[in-house]
Every structure is written in C-alpha cells, then in structure tokens.
Amino acid sequence: MSNVLEIKNIEKYYGNKSNLTKAINNISFNVEKGEFVGIMGASGSGKTTLLNCISTIDRVTAGNIIIDGKDITRLKGKHLNKFRREELGFIFQDFNLLDTLTAYENIAIALTIQKVDHKEIDKKVKEIAEKLDITDILKKYPYQISGGQKQRVASARAIITNPKLILADEPTGALDSKSARQLLETFETLNKSLNATILMVTHDSFSASYAHRILFIKDGKIFNELVKGEDTRKEFFEKIIEVQTLLGGDLNDVI
C-alpha cells in the first residue's frame, strides 16, 4: 500500500532563542491509503500543532510533510490554498457549519469553491447524503438539527471533494455519547466503503478505539504506538486505557 502521508523528522519551535518552546520535537510517521489513524495526547502535548502543520495552516520549522507525493512544506500562497481545497478535508470540533446555509448548501459549498459543474454537485451531494443518512435533513438549517447531525453534515462536506486525507480535530468533542458513537460509525463507513484516509486527533479513548492505529504524543514526541490488528474494539479500548495510564501525564505531574 502506498503512503498518503509521510512525515519526516518535523520540528516546530515557538518563541525566540532565549525562550524556545518545542511544540513538535522530531516526529516521523506514515499513514497509508485507507488507514484510520488516531492521534492522542493530553492538552499541550503538541497534537493540535501537528494537525495544523499537516493541514497547512501552520508551517514547520524543520522536516518534510509529504502528502500523496507532494512536499507541502515547499508549497506557497496560491498553491497552498489550492492544495488545501482539493486534497484535504476537515472536520472540526465545533462543526464550523455556516449558519446561514442549509445542510445541502453547506455540503455543496465545498464543491462550488472548486468550481465543479452544478449538475455534478447536485448528484454528489445527494449521493453522499444517502451514505451518511442525512438525506431528510438536507433542507434544514444548522440551528434546526442536532449536534450529531451537524457533525455528519460536516463530515459529508469533508468527504465530498474526494480528498486524499481527512483531518478530524476532536470531532466528538462537542457531542453527547450517543451522537459520538453514531459519528464514529459514520467515520467507519467513510473509511470502509469510500476508502477514505482519516487522521483523527482526540483525547477521548472511546473515540480513539475506532481507529486502526493510534499514535500517542507527549511533549512534542511520539511516545507510543498502538495497532488494533485483530483485536476487537473492546480489547483495543483496554489497551488504549493502559497506555494512557502509563502516559498518565496528570498523575506523573502530581508525583
């Protein structure tokens, strides 16, 4: 299998010489096509910085990020925007749906800004809505639908452009447990039936247990890696808990 994402020795420093913060300190890993990878870590561990660097919102200090064979650390300005628009899909914790647009329009806008033909847009939106079970709320506005539905609309928006990589930042963070489960099942659908590559940042062990592989980050470094393999989700979940206890940032700090 080919690598969709290759991260090679990236570093990200903040501040100046006298007061240097290493948000990311030499991280390298690969994500294969069709993989569902989770990134876990306590707040301040550098996981959001990592995501920002991958999503081209932030720039790395050193190292290379290669997405689908393209080194995005070398892209600039217009190309960067184009790349982000066409090759990446985003799902955010707070949905980031436009409150003035209907669900349909919120999904469609991802395509309209890519100047896709209108007939195709209509077809695609309906197709994806069918898959994510949101056909009957397409005409509704975000304020008329539940958090889980909102996040599924956001997921539809992220996948509809057929991106190489979907980046999800705490997607279940604002959801109740039932909606969270539904959403994660949606992710599984995206992953399995649409062969979407998903990189999900979370600090919730339950959400993480849906991933195939989990990278644990602490103080800007990869601390551990867990692969689901043949485990059931329950077994995987228990392993995650174990690592977290081991990682136990909070507890260590107390001692």
């Binding site: 925007n81 628009r85 990446l88 003035t100 309209t112 800004i113 100047k115 209108h118 506005y141 304020y143």
Partner: protein
C-alpha cells in the same frame, strides 16, 4: 499614563476610526463651507438688492445649521457607539486589571478629544479649500463678477463650526460615560461570543410581498406622474407618499428573499463559487436591516431629487426668465380713478385727491414727463390701454364649467374682471417683445391669451365649445378653441392668467379704461448705464420718485433688472439650502450604512473564518466580501434612483418647469459626481475596514 494608553489605542485602531473620522471631517468641512458664505468673495461683488437677499439667506442658513448640527450630533454619537462596542473586550480586560470605570471613561475622553481636535483641523482645512470652489458656484448663481480671485478665510464660520462641534463632542462624552457605567464585566469579556439568532423567511411569502410592493410602488409612481391631475388637494399627495414608504419597506423586506428564490432556480449561477454564500449573507442580514435600509433609501432619494431637480429648475427658470423679460421696463397705473372707492371685501373707503384723479386720466408718458423724468432715457416706447367691461368676469368666461371650477378651486375670485386689449394695441407690444402677433377679422370674435397652466386648463373647457359670450346684448365667440400664448406684463415665469384681445372695431367706452400701460427699453448701450437708469425706479431718493410721491400718484411697474435679481436670489437661496441639506443627508445615510456594515462584518467574522478553513483563499474571500458590501451599498441607491426618476418628474411638473433632457443632464451629472464621491468614500472605508475585521484572529 492614561494619555499614553489612549494614544497607543488610537494608533492601533486607526482604521476602526476611519469611518468615524471621515464622517467628522466631512461634517466639519460642509458645516464650515455653508456657514462661510457671507464672507466669500462672490458675496462682495453682487449688487445691493441681491445682498439683502443673501442676508436673508444667511439667517435662514443659520436655522438650517442648527437642524444639521442635531442630525450630525446623532450621527456622531451613533458612530462613536459603534467604536465603543467594537472595543468592549478591550475595556473588559482593563477592568479585570483593576482599572475603574472612571479611568476607562478618561481614556475614551482623551481619545474623543484627540479625534475631535484632529478632525476639526482637517475638516476646516478642507472646508477652506472647498469654500473657494463654493465661491465659484455662488458667483454663477448670483451672477457676480469673479474675475479677480482672492483666497478667503472666514473666522466667524470657523468659530461657529468649532463651537457647534465642541457641543457635539461633549454630548458624545456624556453618552460614552453613561454607556461605560452600564457595562458589566462579564458581558464585556464575552462580548464577542454573543450570537444572534437568525430568522429565515419563507421565500414564497417573500416573492408574493415583493410583487405586491412593486405594484404599490408602481401605483404611487403613476399617481405622481401620469395620474397627477387626479391629485386635487395637498392631503391627497399623502397617498402616494405613504404608498411609496410602504412599498419601499416591502421591497426591502422581501427583495433578498426574492432574489434568492430567483437565483436558486438557476442552479448554474447559484452553485458557483461563493455566490450561494453571498446571497445567503444578504438574505440573512437584510432581514435585520429593513428599517435602516428604508431610511437610507429614502434619504438618498431626497438627496438625489433635491440636488438634481433644484439645479435643473434653476437652469430652466433662467431660460423662462429670459423669455418673460423681453424689455427693460414695464410701467402701469390705474386709469379713471373715481372720487372714492369702497373695497368690496374689506369695506374700506379710499378717497382720491384731485391731482390723483387728473393724472389717472392721462398717459404714463405724461406722468413721467410732468414729474421730471428725462424721457431721453427711454426708447422703443409702446403705450396701450387695458379695459375691463362690466359683467365680463372670469365666471362669465368659464361659462358652464364655472360650477365645476368653483368646487375645484374654491379660493379664486371668480368675479375678477377680464383685462381687455384691442388687438392692434397688443400687436404693437408684441412686436416690441418679439412674440406672436394676432389678428381678428370678424368683429364678433375675441382671443384669450393665457399661459398660466392651471388657468389654461380651466378656460379651455369653455373655449372648446366656442366660448360664446353675450356682452351688452351682443354675442361674441372665441376665434380659437383654446387659450393662446402671450402676455403683456413681464414676470419671472408664465403667470398670465388671462387677457382678452378684441377687434379694433369693438366699442370700448372711455370709462371702461382700467389701466394705462407702458413698455420701453432704456436708451443705453452698456449694462452699467442701464443699471444707472434703473436706479431712478428703484431708489427711494430719486427726484422723480419724490415728485410722484408728493402727489401720491401710484405708478407701478417692474424692470428687467429687478425681476432677474429677485428671481435669481430666491431660487438660488432655495437651491443653496437644498444642496446643503442634500449633502448632509447623503453623509448621514452613507455613514449609517457603513457603520451597519462594519458592525455586521464583525458578526460575520466567524463565517468568513469557516470559509477560509474549508479552503477558500483570500482572493475568494475578499471577492465575496466585496460583493456583499457592494450589493448592500447599491440596493438602497438603485431603489432610490428609481424613486428619484419619478420624484424629479413630479417636482418639475409641480414647479411648472419643462426641462428638456439637455437641461437636466448637467445637473444630473453634478448630482452623480457628488453622490459618487461621498458614497464611494464610505464604501471604500467600509470595505477596507471589513476586510481588516475579517482577517483578524483567523
């Protein structure tokens, strides 16, 4: 310390201040310009009688200025309020740091003072230069000699401007202190998090309302133009005005929904780029701004109508004035004065002296000569007599239509006797005036000359049927089936309510003679000489004037020079005040629109951030923002322009001005430029301000 903080704040939020500053500077400049008229050079050059009018105008402008100051005051408070709201969070942080409300008020106070002083200085400097241009305009209006140009600075106006604006700033300060004292820390810190609930209208209802509003506006338009004859009283004029307002509100309430529905049905357009987003933005925002949009639109409407119609009225009045004042002098006096006369309305009895009675039997040239007037001053003298036949009144002329006319115009004196002139007499005059001559072949024919429009329409009803009239047992009829063009008294415009021309063979008795009339030109080659000769009739202390005054002879008349001065003065005065008000209205509406947009831009920041997150680049975002603001600025303007087309037509019809396209064009161009500059400035300030707001904290 606080001073330093204030200065830093100002530097930091300079662009936020842009609209506020712009409004202040424009306000100050306009205020200075219009209040400095009296000391402008053009004023020093105009003639004395015009100067009296200008004095009147200046005192009028004083009153208007108070009104304008109130409008500007509100505007400044509003603009300032926007700034304070923008900075709620900043103040919240100061408060958490332990700063008291009093200290925050002090910071704002210092800022207000600095901005105030700065804008006063800049505004007055612009005003000083602007008033030089105004001077040229004034010169054109009052026909002053502007060959020498001197730079004028009006201290009075400067002081007045400073005082008025100082008062406004004090109001702003008081207002700010009150606002600050009401703030709660929690609200200040969370100021950015407040979310407005959005209401979405049913698009079908929008379409229906839009169509209804369009029809209402259409009817209103018809009423003030084509159907104007149906408007008989002032109160009825309220109907189209109310319809116009209701229609405008309706249009703004439904327009965005209507457009949305329209474009949604065209998928290709709707599902393209950020169109969808921009349209939804409009739809969302226009709902919350129906009232302000309507107010802005109506203000713009007034500005456009007032500016362009007042200028074109001026132009066409000039033309009419030229037409209606063909000679230098008209004189007339009552003929055949009785020994005593009892006013039928007041019951007052006037006794006439022997001298008066004797003089009234003589011609005007006799009066002139016998009272020491040098007849060499005059040339092209034409003298005629005007008669009136007992019983030949307006009522009689109107015939069967009298009853209807009386209901329509209750206040007319229908027992006014018709002035009657022999056709050959009139032709002598017409030849001098260079207007149309008439002929009457049959002795039982007469001709009605009338150019006052509403009177023409009354008279034509009877003339249409032949105008058969019985006078002293003989029957007469009109030669034409309608009123003809013509006049004998000079005036500022077409105001001849009716003269009747009769055949030279018509037996006019000597005692029917009502008026002696003389028309002549001054025997002079240059304007200066003419002006000198004119003084004999206008100055109270001329020998001739004294002589006839001693005998109490009432010789009335008008001179071309005095008619032109009076007319110019009056129209210019109206135009001046109209332009003043128009520009202030324009500033007010642009500023409100701009501030409204900026406030919304900060609310919209999040939406644009989302767009950026899902992959829109800056270019697309700026384009979307530009289109959004552009449409917001254009909508009220376009509706206002449509209103104005009919409004201007109405004004021109009411003021009885027939303006051709050629005459209208220059004034329309001037209006467009004025609006373009002011509106454009605000648009630019809004766009760049919004762009900055949206970029922040992305």
């Amino acid at each position: 310390m606080l001073f330093k903080l204030s200065l830093k704040n100002m530097k930091k939020s300079f662009k936020d201040y842009a609209i506020y500053f712009l409004t202040l500077v424009l306000g100050v400049a306009i205020f200075y310009m219009f209040n400095s008229i009296d000391s402008q050079q053009a004023m020093l050059e105009v003639s004395s009688s015009t100067r009296d009018l200008i004095k009147l105008m200046i005192s009028l402008l004083g009153f208007v200025s108070v009104f304008i100051a109130i409008v500007l005051g509100f505007l400044i408070v509003y603009a300032n309020n926007f700034l304070i709201n923008r900075r709620k969070r900043e103040f919240g942080i100061y408060m958490t740091l332990g700063m008291g409300r009093r200290q925050i008020s002090k910071i704002i106070l210092i800022e207000t003072i600095i901005v105030g002083i700065l804008s006063l200085i800049v505004g007055i400097v612009i005003g000083i230069f602007g008033s030089q241009f105004m001077s040229v305009l004034v010169a054109k209006l009052f026909e002053a000699d502007m060959t020498e140009f001197t730079f004028v600075f009006s201290i009075d106006s400067c002081i007045k401007t400073c005082v008025y604006f100082a008062i406004m700033f004090v109001a702003v300060m008081i207002f700010n202190t009150i606002t600050i004292s009401r703030y709660k820390l929690i609200n200040l810190l969370n100021a950015n998090k407040k979310n407005e609930e959005i209401k979405i209208k049913n698009p079908v209802i929008s379409v229906i309302i839009f169509i209804i509003s369009a029809i209402v506006l259409g009817i209103a338009y018809y009423l003030v133009t084509g159907g104007m004859n149906k408007l008989e009283s002032d109160e009825q004029l309220l109907v189209p005005i109310l319809m116009g307002i209701v229609g405008t509100v309706g249009v703004f309430w439904s327009l965005s929904g209507f457009i949305l529905k329209l474009i949604q049905s065209r998928k290709k357009l709707y599902l393209s780029g950020t169109n969808m987003f921009v349209l939804r933005q409009l739809n969302n925002k226009i709902n919350t701004t129906v009232v302000s949009m309507t107010v802005i639109c109506l203000m713009l409407f007034m500005t456009i109508s007032v500016l362009s119609s007042s200028l074109s009225i001026q132009t066409s009045m000039d033309a009419e004035l030229e037409e209606m004042t063909p000679v230098d002098l008209n004189l007339y006096k009552t003929a055949n004065l009785p020994e005593s006369y009892k006013n039928p309305y007041t019951g007052k009895v006037t006794n006439y002296t022997k001298e008066q009675i004797e003089d009234s039997k003589e011609s005007i040239s006799y009066t002139l000569e016998s009272n020491g007037y040098d007849m060499n001053n005059l040339k092209d003298i034409v003298e005629i007599s005007v008669y009136s036949i007992p019983g030949w009144t307006w009522e009689k002329s109107l015939g069967d239509y009298f009853e209807t006319a009386k209901q329509q115009f209750k206040s007319l004196n229908y027992d006014t006797l018709e002035p009657i002139i022999k056709v050959s007499d009139y032709n002598k005059l017409a030849r001098l005036y260079g207007i149309k001559e008439y002929s009457i072949e049959n002795d039982d024919e007469y001709i009605v000359l009338c150019d006052f429009e509403s009177m023409v329409s009354l008279r034509n009803h009877e003339l249409n049927k032949g105008g058969i009239i019985e006078i002293n047992g003989k029957e007469y009829h009109s030669k034409y089936d309608s009123c003809q063009e013509g006049f004998y008294l000079m005036s500022t415009s077409h105001t001849n309510t009716g003269i009747i021309l009769v055949s030279d063979n018509f037996e006019l008795k000597e005692e029917w003679k009502e008026q002696e009339f003389l028309a002549a030109n001054y025997n002079a080659n240059t304007e200066e000489e003419k002006e000198k000769m004119n003084l004999v009739f206008t100055e109270d202390d001329s020998i001739f004037y004294k002589n006839i005054n001693d005998k109490d002879i009432k010789l009335e008349g008008m001179t071309k020079i005095s008619i032109i001065e009076a007319s110019k003065g009056l129209t210019s005065m109206i135009i001046f005040i109209a332009i003043y008000l128009g520009i202030i209205f324009l500033i007010a509406s642009s500023a409100i629109l701009a501030l409204k947009q900026l406030t919304e831009s900060s609310d919209n920041k999040q939406r644009y951030t989302i767009l950026r997150k899902i992959g829109c680049d800056e270019k697309m975002i700026n384009k979307a923002l530009f289109r959004q603001i552009f449409i917001f600025f254009m909508l009220p303007l376009i509706v206002a322009i449509i209103h104005s087309i009919f409004g201007i037509k109405f004004i021109l019809t009411v003021s009885a001005v027939v303006a051709s396209t050629d005459e209208l064009l220059p004034s329309v161009i001037i209006t467009v430029i004025t609006i373009g500059i002011i509106y454009g400035l605000y648009f630019w300030a809004t766009y760049s301000g919004s762009k900055r707001i949206i970029k922040n904290e992305s």
